[in-house]
Structures are given as C-alpha cells and as structure tokens.
C-alpha cells in the first residue's frame, strides 16, 4: 500500500477550484461494488434486454443481495454459473454457454437484446465473450442481438459497469444513415420521469431532436454521428464518451444536473450547443428553477454549516459535494471517489473549494480512521459501513440510494436535498 500523499497546505480557505489540488490515493481494501451491480438499474431501463452474467455463484449472490431483491416477477438478469466441469475441461465452456443462451431464449421469447456480462472468474479463465457474442448473434439472427461487456470487479467499480455496457453496445451498432439533422443526445441512465422533464425543456427551447442513450427499448437506437452533440447525464461514462467521439459525436462539457445550479448549467450548456437564445432558455427554466429553489430551502436550514464526509461509491461524489457545498452550504471534510476522471470532472472541480480533501481509490481502514478524526455530521457511505458507523454515533446516508433514486433536474432538487437532511432530522427526532 502506498504511503499517504500529504495534502499541500490549503490554499486560501475561500479559494475556489481544485483542479490542481493533490489527490489522496491509497491502495487497500476497497469497500465498493463491482460493475455487475449496474445490471440492477440497466435492466429496468432497457425493457427488452436480458443481462446474462457468465460467472460464479458469488456473482449471482452479489446481484440479488445488492438489489435487495427477492424477485417480484421473473427477472431479466441471471447468471450462467461456471462449475467444476467447465473448469476441468470436461465441458466446453462455449458449448455450455450456447446451451444456456438457447435455454434462456426459449424461456423468454420477449428478449430482443442480450448482454453477456463478463465477471472476475470468466476473465481469469480467459473465456472470450466477444467471440461468443458474435457467434450467438449469428445463431439467433433476426431474433436477438448479443453484446458482451465486462462488469467484473477486477476491471470495473460499481457504476463503471454501465460505462462498459454502453461503450460496448455502441461499438456494435450499425452506422446510422447520413442525416442533416442535428440531434442532442443525453447519455447515461436516468429515471423515465427525469428523461421526460429534460426532453420537454429542450424541446420547449426549440431543439427538435432530443434522444437518450440507453433507450427504453433496444430497438430505439438514436442516430449518432458528426451531427450529434451529447451531454453526459452521469459522471461515470468515460469509455462511452470516448466511443461516441470516435463515432463523430461531440461532447458538450458541463457540470452534472444535480441541484438547481447544476441543472441550470447543464441545460445551459446543451442550449448553447444549439445556439438557443438566452431569452428562450430563460423562458423555459425560470419557473422550474424557482420551484427547485423553494423546495430546497427547508433542507438548507438543516444542512448548512454541517460537515459531510464521502466514502467512494458511484463517482457521483464530486458533483454531489459541489451541490451540497454551493446550494446547501455544507462543509466538505473529504470527498472520496472510486475513480477520478479529470476531463469529465473539469467543470465540477472548478466549483469545489481549493482546499477540499479529494481522495481516489480506497484503503477503507485508513479512511475510517480519517472519518473518525474528522467527526463529520453526516457520512455518505455504502451499506456495509452505514450501520456500523451509526453504532459508533455517526449519522449516515446510504450512497446507493443516490444511484437508485431520481435526483437529477429541477423537480428532483428538493428530493435530493431531502436525502441528506432526513438522516439528520431523524437523529434529532429520536434523541428528543
């Protein structure tokens, strides 16, 4: 494990921008999910897709535990569990996979898009899922398209699974017919309700073609090419953005649409890319922005002046910290992120106080020591740490709820603030 990199003496306390602030990087136990976990929200989003993990019993157990699911209907995800016969070479893994896929497709004739998801074991035994995907696509031509990606813990951390999925999917899409029409593509899984709001805003401003990726149906693939301008709705899509750029699309840099300010700047960036006038922009956002401000006020009363500590989880930490600092007036003790993409975070980093302690990757024991030393009022952490920290007297917010709840946009800004104020209010009520 590498030694702690000392943080440079804090710049002026009021200084903004931490693009140049050194980042604390430690290696040790990482208390984070692997990329398979993304299947939980991806399979809800893409309604005709099935996610087949090729892995072990651990993979199957992970997904069902992380989702907290017992299954309400037959789920659209599953695991092809590798067993000793596959490992001993008694069975050919590729034949076995073909058999499992046929079995699955017979069961689920409604599936149009199949994702073969690589796992730690499938990668260690070097099972070539890209060849399997090609082969299966041919076998089931006109019936289902098969794409592979890696959600393994050795390759991906939590939300990077979505990035790997989308990047890999984009690579297999046929080139769209040439079109003169410009389109705005919003990239990253959002709740349907949030998508509908964003679509409405942009269309009301005058942008005709607004598309979303991933789409709700695998057959509704938007056009992607030189006339595509894309906005990232999620901060963890490094490979997806690179792939879109390789296909000719242009990224519109922006902070992420969390909180009223984040949403305004994000929408503004989109509007500017389409040369929408300030008047048209203001006319659309004025009312919802005002509603967002009103809905956040009572939460600000609870949150302002309080100290918050982020354990790394989803890569949403930096935009969330920016929101809580600027709009809720909280103090940032530490902002941990599993992976820091400086390019996509440039706008966000510029908005953080320059003395923010940023940490990337994790040694959970050392980070817990820092957390105890900081004595924050609120800790954002994973489910494995939350109750133990509560038992130590800390107030916590489950990080995973920030991934599963609609929090983007104006109409959700109050809900987002509420996710942070509720644990504090609850602690106060229970103490009374």
């Amino acid at each position: 494990m590498s030694p702690v990199i000392p943080i440079q003496a804090a710049q002026a306390a009021s200084g903004m921008g931490c693009a140049d602030t050194p980042v604390l990087v430690q290696r040790g136990q990482r208390e984070v999910f692997c990329g398979l976990t993304g299947i939980i929200w991806l399979h809800r989003k893409i309604q005709d897709a099935f996610f087949l993990v090729v892995g072990s019993r651990t993979c199957a157990h992970l997904i069902q535990s992380a989702a907290g699911v017992m299954i309400f209907a037959e789920p659209r995800f599953g695991t092809a569990i590798i067993d000793e016969r596959d490992l001993a070479g008694l069975a050919d893994c590729n034949d076995e996979l073909d058999r499992v896929v046929s079995e699955l497709l017979t069961r689920r004739p409604d599936i149009k898009q199949l994702f073969l998801v690589g796992s730690c074991p499938s990668e260690v035994i070097k099972l070539d899922l890209s060849r399997a995907a090609e082969r299966l696509s041919r076998q089931h031509l006109h019936r289902v398209r098969v794409v592979n990606y890696s959600g393994s813990g050795i390759e991906t951390t939590f939300t990077q699974g979505e990035d790997a999925c989308l990047a890999s999917w984009l690579q297999t899409l046929p080139a769209p017919p040439a079109s003169d029409q410009f389109n705005l593509l919003i990239v990253g899984t959002l709740a349907d309700v949030v998508e509908d709001q964003f679509r409405q805003y942009f269309q009301n401003m005058g942008i005709e073609q607004v598309d979303f990726f991933p789409p709700r149906k695998s057959t509704q693939i938007p056009a992607i090419g030189p006339n595509t301008r894309f906005l990232l709705a999620q901060p963890f899509l490094a490979d997806t953005a690179r792939q879109l750029e390789a296909q000719g699309a242009t990224r519109v840099p922006a902070p992420f649409p969390l909180g009223a300010q984040g949403t305004t700047q994000w929408l503004k960036a989109g509007a500017q890319a389409f040369e929408i006038s300030d008047e048209a922009f203001e006319a659309v956002v004025r009312a919802p922005r005002q509603r967002a401000e009103i809905s956040m006020t009572r939460h600000r009363d609870q949150l302002q002046g309080r100290k918050i500590f982020f354990f790394p989880d989803s890569q949403l930490e930096i935009p969330l910290a920016r929101f809580l600092h600027h709009e809720m007036h909280m103090h940032l003790c530490e902002v941990g992120t599993p992976y820091l993409h400086r390019g996509h975070m440039a706008e966000e980093l510029a908005l953080l106080p320059s003395n923010t302690r940023l940490s990337e990757s994790q040694d959970v024991e050392l980070q817990l020591d820092r957390c105890r030393a900081d004595q924050p009022d609120l800790v954002v952490c994973g489910l494995g740490l939350a109750n133990p920290l509560e038992a130590e007297g800390f107030t916590t917010k489950w990080a995973i709820e920030l991934v599963f709840t609609p929090i983007q946009g104006y109409e959700q800004a109050g809900d987002l603030a509420g996710l942070f104020s509720r644990p504090l209010i609850r602690r106060m009520k229970l103490a009374a």
Partner: protein, 528 residues
C-alpha cells in the same frame, strides 16, 4: 454451466463469513477481487449488525494479476493481524482467487503470526454456503479444541453440554439458543459453550470439556459434532426440537445422555397443544400445506404441520442437497416425494400444480405465495430483514411451538371468521368489495356483477370475464351465466380455488360448457 436466476445459498466463503462474524475474536482474511465486499451488507443490513463483519478482503484488480497478488495477500493478512489483533485467523479464497491459486494457507503460514491460522479450502465451483459454514466450523474445531481434562463424576455436578450450530445470518438462531438454554437449565443441564455464535476462541478450545453436544443446526454443526464424537467420544443429540412432539423427544434424548430425570413442570408454557385442540382450530383440519427450505427446518415443520396442526402435507422439498436423504425419508411419512432443487422456478411450478392452502417456505416462497395469492409463513433461511424481528420469536422448544402456531395460523382465516363469512355471504353490507369495518365508513356499492353477458344477434351469449379474474377459463372452457352466478355465491376467499378446480375438472373431462352441474360435480370430485 447452469442458468441461475436466483439462488437459495451463496458461495461457500459466505458460510465461512457467517462463522467468523458469529464469533467474538476471529478474523477472516479473504483473497478476493473488488466487489466481493458486498457480503458485508448481508450482515450489516439484513441482520442489522452494529459492527462490520471481521473480514479483510485483498480486493485485487486486473492490474495486480500480472504482478504479485501473493504479496497483496500477505500484506493484507499482516495488517489485519496488527489492526484487529484477533485470537485466531481464518484464511481463504473466494471463487476468483481460487482460480489464481495463490495458496492463502501457505502464505499465511509464512508470516509466522503469533496466533492460530486456519486455512480454508472451500471449493467455490462445487459447494455452497451451508457446506462452507460446516467446513469452517469443523476446521476451527479441529485446530483449536483441546483434549478434555479429567471431569468430576456426574454424581458430584450438573451435566453440561455445548449448543452447536448457531451462526450469524441464521434463521432465528439468536432466539433459539436462548430458548433451548432455558429448557436445558430447567432440565438441570448446564450449557458449557454455545458455538459459533458469540463464542470466543478460548471457548472453542474448551468444547471437549462438556459431556455431550446438542446439535441445533445439522447443516452447520454436523461435521464438527461427528468429529468431536470420533475424537473425544462426545455423543450428540439427533432431534431438532421444533414442535412440541420433537421437543419432548429432544428432552428425552438429553435426559438419557445426561442421566437425569425429566422434571414434571417442563411443559408449563406449551400452549400450542391446547390451542390446536380448541374448537376454533377445527377449521385447520386437513389444510393442504407445502413446505420448502433447508433440510432440518422442513423436516421438523412437516412433522409439526402433520401431527400438531392436523394439516395435510401435499408436498415438500429442500435446497440442502447434503441432507437430501433425510428429507426424502421424511417425505415418505406423508406419502409425497421430496423435491430436491435449488431452482426456485421448479418450486414455483410444483406449488402451482399442487394448489396448497398454505405455503411454509423461505423468503422466496413468500414471493411465490404472493404471486399465487396463497397464504404463507416463513420457516427457513435464506433470511430477510423481516426474519430478525425485534421481539423474542424462537422456532425451537415449547415457546418455539407457540410461535409456530401463531405464525402459521396468522395468514389463514380464523375458524369463527370462516363460519361467519359463510353465514353472511349474501349480506348487502358484507361482500368482497366492501372495505373492512376498521377502515372507517367509506361506503362501497355492492359489487359489480361477476361478469357481463354480452348478447349479440348472431352468436350464442358470451361470457366476458373481468380482467381482474384470477384465472380466465383456459383452453376453451366457457362458464354458463348460471354457473357464473353460482360461483359468485361462494365466499370470496375460496372462490378463486373453486373456479380453478372447476376449470381443471372441466378440462380433464373435456367439458366445454361449465354449468352449475359441472361446478358441483367438481366440488364433489375434489372433496373425495
């Protein structure tokens, strides 16, 4: 390769975690990739444990695979020992680390730690959670248990036993050990050590100082108990004290092993026997029940269902392959064949076919029951946050039998209720569309007619069954208006079943038009 949509048991290293987390001062160093830390949340969220499981994960990544993952393991083990200062350490690999073959046992040995280090070989591609727990407990016992010092003769002291098998994430283990400890105390038997739950390494060392072992959960403790018997001549109990009958057998078994008399007042709080005899329970007679879960809970629950509740066991099964033989044997007592599977879809299919009136299962069967609108109670792991109630709710002993009676009866209609429903079924204020009286005075109109008869000039009258109907007449069977009306007179809580049975009967006999006659023929047929 096996297609799995949901699994009853986790991988074997989860079983090892259940042992480590149960104990006071054991630390488990697990060679595992990033992501395997998900297992912590099982303990902190489902069981609401206020501490992290005592597990250190090496969390290696792809870039480490080309380098030295072995060194990563050694660093993690050394640091875990320094930080947590455990009294013993378990070391092992999860599924991925098993493939890279770093030999955690050998690596940990090389560190020369000042504490016992127990290497675990848990084949992840072959075995599952309960086996992993059993193997871990056995390996710990083998490594730690000291030969017994000479004991005073039984004439000069109370006999003493160990309670073996309770773990973290166990189904009601917390309350079972309290109940069984009280029972043993009443019998005049001391509980020497409870393990692994709440046991220290030192206590495990002293296991052989007891006169005999009580095996509460064979899935977890059988391997260790068998070894203790072989090694130190310690007998162990075979009866799982779930239900009054089984608890009596258990008491007799303990009394024989301990050489004591059974005190007279031992059953003072066994209320379930009288409750089951009371007239209100008459309606429980012959209720068709289906059971699924781990082997010991299913076998014990089937006995309680049959002998003490007067139910009819129409099907049973287990996901515990290691104990398939025991479940098959037990199933013969009820004239059914046991289903041994870990595929919940097969369980669901069997339940669908058998039409039970009550399902006793795991959390998965609870979901199946919800889909089929069938009453259900949970009797076995895998656990859910609801299986850790704040109140005292053991499954074992006489109080456990009381809990079973209440929990199983609760989802069913009470006898008196069933009787009143029959009496008032056509009452204008009392119909299935009416809100329960405790929900206030919201008046609802009398129910919509069950179906609408559509007359069109050129066709025979056609029945349009409302979309919400539980099962539309399948494969061509048609309900006549009169039969449909008669069906409406059947109390709503059995109407679905009557409808299904009638349609099944019609199908089997190739009857196309379901008449009032068919309805009652079917009733007669199924009540044989």
């Amino acid at each position: 390769m096996q297609l799995t949509l949901w699994t009853y048991e986790g991988p074997p290293h989860i079983g090892a975690m259940r042992i480590a987390t149960a104990m006071q001062d054991v630390h488990y160093v697990l060679h595992a990739p990033q992501g395997d830390t998900y297992a912590d949340l099982l303990f902190t969220m489902i069981e609401r444990l206020p501490k992290r499981p005592p597990v250190t994960y090496t969390t290696f990544q792809a870039r480490d695979l080309g380098g030295d993952t072995a060194q990563l393991f050694k660093d993690a083990a050394a640091q875990a020992n320094a930080r947590f200062a455990p009294a013993a350490m378990l070391v092992g690999a999860s599924c991925t680390a098993e493939l890279i073959q770093d030999d955690p046992g050998g690596l940990a040995q090389a560190l020369n730690l000042p504490i016992p280090v127990v290497p675990l070989e848990l084949p992840a591609y072959q075995r599952k959670e309960n086996w992993g727990a059993a193997e871990t407990f056995y390996q710990l016992a083998r490594r730690l248990v000291l030969p017994p010092a000479p004991k005073d003769p039984l004439s000069q002291r109370r006999p003493r036993c160990n309670l073996l098998g309770p773990t973290a994430l166990g189904f009601r283990h917390r309350d079972d050990i309290r109940e069984i400890s009280q029972l043993l105390d009443q019998l005049g038997v001391d509980v020497h050590v409870v393990a692994p739950l709440n046991a220290s390494v030192e206590q495990v060392r002293q296991l052989a100082q007891a006169d005999f072992n009580v095996v509460l959960y064979p899935e977890i403790a059988m391997t260790a108990a068998t070894w203790l018997q072989r090694q130190f001549d310690m007998p162990f109990t075979k009866t799982i004290p779930i239900g009054v009958g089984a608890t009596r057998d258990f008491v007799a078994e303990v009394a024989a092993l301990a050489g004591i008399e059974i005190p007279a007042e031992i059953e003072a709080h066994a209320r379930s026997v009288w409750y089951s005899k009371s007239v209100d329970s008459t309606y429980l007679t012959g209720k068709r029940v289906y059971l699924f879960g781990d082997a010991s809970h299913v076998v014990a629950a089937a006995r309680f269902a049959h002998q003490e509740m007067g139910f009819e066991v129409v099907g049973m099964g287990t996901y515990s392959r290691e104990f398939a033989r025991e479940v098959r044997e037990a199933a013969k007592n009820y004239g059914v064949e046991a289903l041994i599977t870990d595929d919940y879809l097969l369980v669901e299919e069997q339940i669908r076919q058998l039409h039970p009136e009550l399902i006793l299962g795991t959390q998965m069967e609870r979901h199946i029951a919800k889909r089929l609108s069938t009453p259900c109670a949970v009797i076995s792991a895998p656990v859910h946050v609801q299986d850790f109630p704040a109140r005292y709710a053991p499954q074992m002993g006489f109080e456990g039998a009381n809990v079973l009676f209440d929990t199983w009866v609760h989802p069913l209609m009470m006898g008196l209720e069933e009787h009143l429903l029959g009496m008032f079924r056509e009452d204008f204020e009392f119909h299935d569309g009416a809100a329960p009286s405790h929900l206030g005075s919201t008046r609802t109109p009398s129910p919509e007619p069950l179906s609408v008869v559509v007359h069109s000039p050129d066709t025979v009258p056609q029945i349009v069954v409302p979309a919400s109907s539980p099962a539309n007449a399948p494969r061509g069977s048609q309900w006549s208006p009169a039969a449909e009306k008669e069906l409406g007179k059947i109390p709503f809580f059995v109407r679905g079943k009557a409808k299904r049975n009638t349609e099944r009967y019609a199908q089997e006999l190739g009857i196309y038009d379901i008449t009032v006659e068919t309805l009652y023929d079917a009733k007669a047929h199924f009540s044989r």
